[in-house]
């Protein structure tokens, strides 16, 4: 077992409000780690700190150490971090002006890759990995990404993130805007992807956490209350607050 992401004493602010109060976590490589907790507990802020998306907000800042592999991501350019640590957002957000093909190729094309053969290969491989290839292979360059259904759009966004070949994939409630069938497809996908890729997924759905993730962290009011193997969290949590949350007593 190896650590893919090592978080040490991570603090984050929005203006003067401290949203994360010193988080420590070691994310296991090639596994899925779920982040759960009530609304406003800082779980989205936490994963947005893992690829420095947090600081795209004008008055937000973060402090602490986040190591991906051996590199501290706060010591390298943010754009390089985001190529290593991909992200899938809550609402599917394909580029509306681009075809399906261009959506997937965007990360490479706009960072300078021009070779058509390479792009074709990457687009096909990424769409295969996100289980969308068979549904769109005939309309790749004809249809806009925005013309797909919500579930397809989200798988397109996953393909787009995979195309730049990240080491870690962050998913911020990727199924919250989707119907149960699309949700099941994305969950299957997470199972496939975590064979090779480290996944951190924020979810409001505790069943989802227990289905897809080996490890789970429970956040409350900007603190990581408990972090353990998923079955331990859901069957025998050490902290009273975790137990109250997973049994539905609050949140």
């Amino acid at each position: 077992m190896a650590t893919a992401v090592e978080v040490r004493d991570l603090k984050a602010w929005f203006g003067k409000t401290e949203a994360l109060h010193g988080i420590n976590m070691a994310v296991e490589q090639a596994h899925a780690t779920a982040v759960i907790g009530p609304s406003g507990c800082g779980k989205s802020t936490f994963i947005r700190c893992l690829n420095r998306m947090h600081e795209t907000n004008p008055d937000a800042r973060a402090e602490g150490e986040v190591k991906v592999g051996n590199a501290d991501i706060y010591d390298m350019p943010a754009v390089d971090v985001r190529r290593k640590v991909g992200m899938v957002f809550q609402k599917p957000n394909p580029f509306p002006s681009m075809s399906i093909y261009d959506n997937v190729a965007a990360g490479l094309k706009l960072n300078g890759t021009r070779n058509h053969k390479t792009l074709d290969d990457v687009v096909e491989r990424s769409l295969q990995q996100s289980a969308l290839w068979d549904e769109v292979k005939d309309v790749l360059k004809k249809k806009s990404g925005a013309s797909l259904s919500g579930g397809q759009q989200q798988r397109l966004c996953i393909a787009r993130a995979l195309a730049v070949n990240p080491e870690v994939l962050l998913m911020d409630e990727p199924c919250s805007a989707l119907d149960p069938i699309s949700t099941a497809k994305i969950e299957d996908l997470i199972f496939e992807l975590k064979q090779r890729l480290t996944i951190v997924i924020v979810t409001h759905n505790m069943q989802q956490a227990s289905r897809v993730a080996e490890f789970t962290g429970f956040f409350l009011m900007g603190n990581l209350v408990e972090f353990d193997r998923t079955e331990k969290i859901f069957t025998n949590p050490s902290d009273k607050r975790t137990e109250d949350y997973i049994t539905g007593r609050f949140g």
């Binding site: 957000n93 002006s97 960072n111 013309s147």
Partner: protein, 285 residues
Amino acid sequence: MSSGFLQFRRRLVDYAATFTAAFLSAIVVGTLVAIFAYLLIKGAGSVNWAFLTHTPKPVGEIGGGMANAIVGSALILGMASLIGIPFGIGAGIYLAEYGRNRLGAFVRFTADVLNGVPSIVIGLVAYGLVVFTQGHFSAFAGGVALAIMMVPVVARTTEEMLLLVPQAVREAAFGLGIPQWRTTISITLASARAGILTGIMLAFARVAGETAPLMFTALGNQFWSFSPNQPIAAVPLQIYTYALSPYDDWHRQAWAAALVLVALIVGTISLVRFVFARSTLREAR
């Protein structure tokens, strides 16, 4: 109140509102149709081959045309667009993507004020900037005057259209490690291009008919000129001169010129839209 009465009242209000909306739309469309119709009636008879291919005849001689003015307008508008559109889009990008600060607020306010400055004042400014410093009237000076008028319109529409692009789209690009300048050019601007194009067309149509700013800049010319450094004829200037003249033939030509001007504006906008629509991806909703 009985439910029957309530239902009746709701239907009545619905009809009244729909009728009002339709009536007001009809007035708007009707005005446009009336202008076109009037121009056609008054001007169509005087538009002929000579009008489109010849230069004006000396006073007292019947006939001649406005070919030099049509070409002159095209040249002036071309220069105005080449200068005004890039500045306008650049300012719009700044306002939308970086301008959430005091400098941005100042630029926004300036653009709005500039938009409200009477066009004749803009003409005077261009006179001071170009004509006075160069020592002669020129097509280029006219282009500068119209460019100044285009900038605020293009800038503000570009800003508004960029702000309509959801933040999630920008986030998606940042999440892929695409730098901000690339995101703005290839993704945000591309997503907003239909709206920005509309803004550009609006600015173009507005300045295409301007007369006042050209009076002390392009000046007008009875003869052919293709040089940006010489005084040049323009359709609106020609309409102004001809409409105020005491000659019936010139009055007829002024109507014809008005019709041709409107037709050229509509034609340009339609062409740009057509070319653009063909290059846009079908969304097949």
